[in-house]
Symmetry: C2
Subunit: 522 residues, 2 copies
């Protein structure tokens, strides 16, 4: 096999889960079908899928495998169940839903984390994925963290280690590879590595005590892969971000932590890396630093050129390449194939649906917090905040958050970033039921021009117009706003946003089911 073909095995390229080129949501980032066929025929060994439904994913995985000449690694960011990305599969409450239960009842929480991993694995395998890019092993110990938040399993090292390991163990026992991320720990950042390079000021002692614990646990449990973080840790390497740092990947991860599996970069296309190093050199630097797989290079051809040049020039040893190829092959032998046809996979999914809906109800129930006396009564306004109403899987037309308050006399009003400033929202002067779908960082709202939730709640309270409050997502926003509320005011928090979470939250507030949203309750 040619050198270039061997190197191509180490690339993981991005493709839409949709079948047709014109369905791609991000055509500038998602390869066209002819490009995909080209790269797979050149030996590219992995694909990361985003977009499309469960049915489309099932067809797509089989199509990609048919286009490739050798078995592929097929992965997706389905940290919160396959339905998080692929409609029709199970979309579970986010991992942080278990953090509170783990404090109260560690055994029960760990059992649910195992069920979470099993659910994700069985559905991934049925549809054709053999690699789940999870668990998140980051300890979410910075409430201002804009990218981890409810994706983490816990806010303490011990809980995060126990829960992420329970998830990963169950996942891999079903023949689907896991991936501990983002090494060496992305929990204590307040900036977004999609946009800039965050800095972690901690030294080894602190990293050992907090950040590294879940990764040690994952490695001890036999995790198949570890994903690197685009973070600068000056105490470990003053010059290079973790993804490109031999100090982090070789010394810390391989030698000190003894990890023998696959090291995969986070998406190299991310600004923090690409803008600084260029598409080809970023890939070469990552490989030189110790990464085995190159995820989403900004330019696959440039990445291959740079890797090939590095091999020919002696920058990388032949052993280094063979090691990475061997690790990839070893990982593939740990996977179990899914059913032959897409329809068989979907039939498996349908058969699993009842028990997975039940699992989600358990996750939702154990993480729900509520207070006050409901139900809120209208007439009034049902003011719903989402990031972008044009892309809002949490709000199908029959969503409980829309239908149930309407039954109680609250007219729905949708507010997103495209709806203009709050000040002009025309909130009238009647009661307002406020539903906030917020998972990002709520604490920079005032400073970065976002929405002043706290001020809005205070002003509605002052006018005695706040009829109720529901927060779907951030526990930090809940912790900030809850102390402001009178004890009797109906208020609910759920870490999850999907319709089933809405049904449960509004039920807790006394807003009964509408006939049309019955599909979302169990």
């Amino acid at each position: 096999m040619s050198l270039r073909r061997q190197l191509a095995e180490l690339l993981v390229l991005r493709c839409s889960g949709h079948q047709l080129d014109q369905q791609r949501r991000y055509p500038q980032w998602e390869l066209s079908n002819s490009e995909l066929r080209h790269w797979l025929s050149e030996g590219v060994g992995g694909v990361i899928l985003l977009g499309g439904s469960a049915a489309e994913l099932a067809l797509r995985c089989r199509q990609l495998q048919q286009w490739a000449r050798t078995p592929l690694l097929l992965c997706a960011d389905v940290e919160e169940g396959v339905g998080q990305r692929f409609d029709g599969a199970s979309w579970l409450a986010p991992p942080l839903a278990l953090a509170g239960l783990h404090r109260r009842d560690p055994a029960a929480a760990t059992a649910l984390a195992r069920a979470y991993g099993r659910c994700t694995a069985l559905e991934a395998r049925a549809l054709g994925l053999n690699w789940v890019l999870g668990p998140v092993c980051d300890v979410n110990n910075n409430p201002a963290n804009p990218v981890i938040n409810v994706r983490a399993w816990a806010e303490t090292a011990e809980s995060a280690a126990a829960l992420s390991q329970a998830f990963a163990g169950a996942l891999q026992s079903c023949g689907v590879l896991g991936c501990a991320k983002h090494f060496p720990g992305h929990g204590d950042t307040a900036s977004d590595s999609h946009l800039e390079l965050p800095l972690i000021p901690h030294g080894r002692q602190r990293l050992d005590a907090v950040e590294l614990a879940p990764f040690r646990s994952a490695i001890a449990g036999g995790i198949a892969a570890v994903m690197t973080a685009h973070l600068l840790l000056p105490e470990l390497d003053a010059a290079r971000p973790a993804t490109l740092s031999a100090a982090v990947l070789q010394q810390l991860l391989r030698q000190e932590l003894g990890f023998e599996g696959l090291v995969v970069t986070d998406a190299l296309v991310m600004e923090a890396i690409t803008s600084r190093y260029g598409a080809g050199e970023a890939a070469a630097l990552a490989f030189e630093a110790g990464a085995d797989l190159i995820l989403m290079p900004a330019d696959a051809g440039a990445a291959l050129d740079a890797l090939e040049e590095g091999c020919r020039s002696g920058r990388f040893s032949p052993q280094r390449l063979q090691q990475s190829l061997a690790r990839r092959r070893a990982a593939l032998t740990r996977t179990q194939p899914g059913p032959l046809t897409a329809q068989e996979g979907l039939d498996q999914l349908a058969a699993l649906a009842p028990q997975h809906q039940k699992l989600n109800q358990q996750l939702l129930s154990c993480s729900l917090e509520c207070q006050g006396q409901g139900p809120p009564t209208g007439p009034g306004l049902n003011l719903i905040r989402v990031d972008n109403s044009l892309q809002c899987p949490a709000l199908p037309l029959q969503a409980p958050a829309l239908l149930r308050p309407t039954q109680a006399g609250f007219q729905p009003r949708l507010m997103d970033d495209l709806a203009g400033p709050w000040a002009s929202a025309g909130l009238g002067d009647g009661p307002v039921l406020l539903q906030l779908f917020v998972r990002g960082n709520p604490f920079r709202g005032n400073s970065d021009g976002g929405t002043p939730w706290r001020a809005l709640v205070e002003s509605l309270l002052a006018e005695q117009r706040l009829a109720g409050l529901v927060i779907y997502g951030s526990p930090y926003l809940w912790r900030e706003l809850k102390p402001l509320l009178p004890k009797a005011l109906p208020a609910v928090y759920s870490p999850a946003q999907m319709p089933a979470a809405q049904a449960l939250a509004l039920q807790a507030m006394g807003l009964e089911g509408a006939s049309d949203d019955s599909g979302f309750t169990d």
Copy 2:
């Protein structure tokens, strides 16, 4: 075969194109998979599909055919190309796009209507449908019509007859059945039969001169099916709506117009019928009046009970049933089967995509109207009106209507029915580029509490703040607003709403392509 099983062949039930029960958008109207399997095993002979993508439809059609014991009629309301309902297939400019061209160049318009029919048929067949519920044969001669509008091929009987027949002929020559609708003509109504029963006051002479012409043409061309309208025509039948009227279906359609094919009801679940007659009796009345197929009965079991009782009691003759069954079998023999697997169908679709995109560009180009001098220049507001931002296939995140004005300094602002009253929109005091996605009836805006477009445009003009106007959809709104505009003001009209229409309309206004929306231009 039992009587009940024979009767079941005459039902056409509704099902979601999605694979999984939890994906249904309207669970109260869409059968669950277990209900579907039940009814198909009982011999139900037809299914109408709504919802899901092209890939999902392709899987679903094969699944339904496998569940049934005999060949099914599989239909959908894809009057504007299969992509109108199933994402990934071709979504074409609406039929009315050809009305103007047909006045200027009848031969060119007719050729495009044939290509329209061929495109729809080839994609329908590839995915697994064998029956397209089109063409609309209604002559849209009432600008206040809330349900037909751009779905019609023309505003005159002659053009509507020529274009709908060109479409239907091409459709059926590709082995896909057509369906002329809504008999005897739904063009001259100002109320919505989904909600109430509209009344057509015309007598035979006027019907002959206008409404019936396209149906005569369709029948002469060998149309396989005719769909009845839920309309009251007192001059023909003072008591019963057309769907339930022997005077309309037997005397007019069968005897006078000589139609020998399948008569199918419009959806019996519609309020105009169900609330008046009940689920079972509505089906029995339709069959008694002369319908062969019962579309979307409000309750399949009740419909079968009533039909069975009618047969046993002698209300319907045995010959009547055998006639309908024979017509259904005859229609099925005219269909050509699609490819065996869903993936083969999708591969066919992908191969057809370039020529179908070219067809759509032709439809868009010939129907575009523009005036004034562009481009509009910001900074300002890009005010976009849609019916419902939560369900808006015209606006994917990379839609030209969002991206291109942003490049010219116009910040997007979305206004829909859930965004609250216009008065409170906080439109600031800078230039406003107004983009209206409006296909319904714009003339009742003021009287029914909707949005006063005319007043908004007048007020922005008075303040010299209207930077540009684009109307996607209703030609009637364009005709109303255009006279208000200064000649130099950049203004564009397109009957279509999809991203390709936006790209062309904004291009005509001088707003060049953004790098990210390149997928929507050819």
